[in-house]
Point group: C2
Chain length 137, copies 2
DNA sequence: TACTTCTTTGTAACGATTACAACTTTGGAA
DNA sequence: TTCCAAAGTTGTAATCGTTACAAAGAAGTA
């Protein structure tokens, strides 16, 4: 298991304290947080942390391929540590986001109608199993 | 071919002039516009049109299932007239959005891991064929 | 040590969207 | 036909997510 610092160095990113903490957070809490959620979570521990730093860091990480930026039904960007491809499901009742393992056809690095495909996102919406139970009450 | 007014009435939406024009626009120009793009396009013809009306109308249409709201790699919502399911491809160079007919597995009205699926979006990114040609220059 | 570069920070600005209250239109009921 | 309530529209202000920018700080190196 690679350390956070190793991951950063491998991607040509200097391992500053802020960057380590932000990546650490995304590695530990796989909640697809927004920039603001990350900022709020780390603000206690790092009182001088700036929201701009969070945005800058997320931009850097995304450009270097460490993170994936997600657009999941709304006008806010969510981030996740870049791992195996998977599907996202967002509940319309509680807004919770679930990762689904369900495999899907790969269009990555493929040509469709002459377009070169480099990213492939499958986003589902509906009512999650917890909210389904509540509806039944 | 149903008229705009018929479509609105079928969905329990009173056919006001503003609503007719907005739906007409989305039916004619399948460019996945943002609320602002629709407002800009109609502002000449309807000088008193308010941007709030555009937002209200798009919200109503989406709730009634007349339109589909799309989150395609960015923090703005795009709208399209709700037709046959298809895939969206957005070019990273020119930001143009393409509809692709390519069929895909349907999870709609299905259960996955106990979650009830009601919407299913496939979003691709990459370089479109026009930009690919330019890169070659 | 001095210099350059990278990183972080805070503030202000921006764009998309929503809240809200006033005004207008519409469709009955009296 | 007139009056009223409900629905629809409008403009302004506020909010939220994000970016621009310039100054301050930290790190590496000649």
């Amino acid at each position: 298991m690679k350390s956070i610092i190793e991951i950063l160095k491998e991607n040509d990113i200097a391992p500053s304290m802020q960057r380590i903490k932000i990546l650490e957070y995304l590695q530990s809490y796989k909640t697809h947080p927004t920039a603001d959620m990350i900022y709020q979570a780390l603000a206690d521990e790092m009182p001088t942390l700036s929201k701009t730093t969070v945005y800058n860091t997320l931009k850097t990480f995304t450009e270097k391929g460490v993170l994936m930026a997600l657009s999941l039904f709304g006008n806010e960007v969510r981030y996740e540590y870049n791992t195996e491809p998977h599907i996202h499901f967002k509940c319309t009742k509680c807004d919770k986001i679930y990762d689904l393992d369900k495999s899907f056809d790969h269009y990555n690095d493929d040509l469709i109608d002459g377009h070169k495909i480099t990213e492939h996102h499958v986003n589902l919406r509906g009512i999650c199993k917890i909210c389904l139970r509540k509806v039944g009450d």
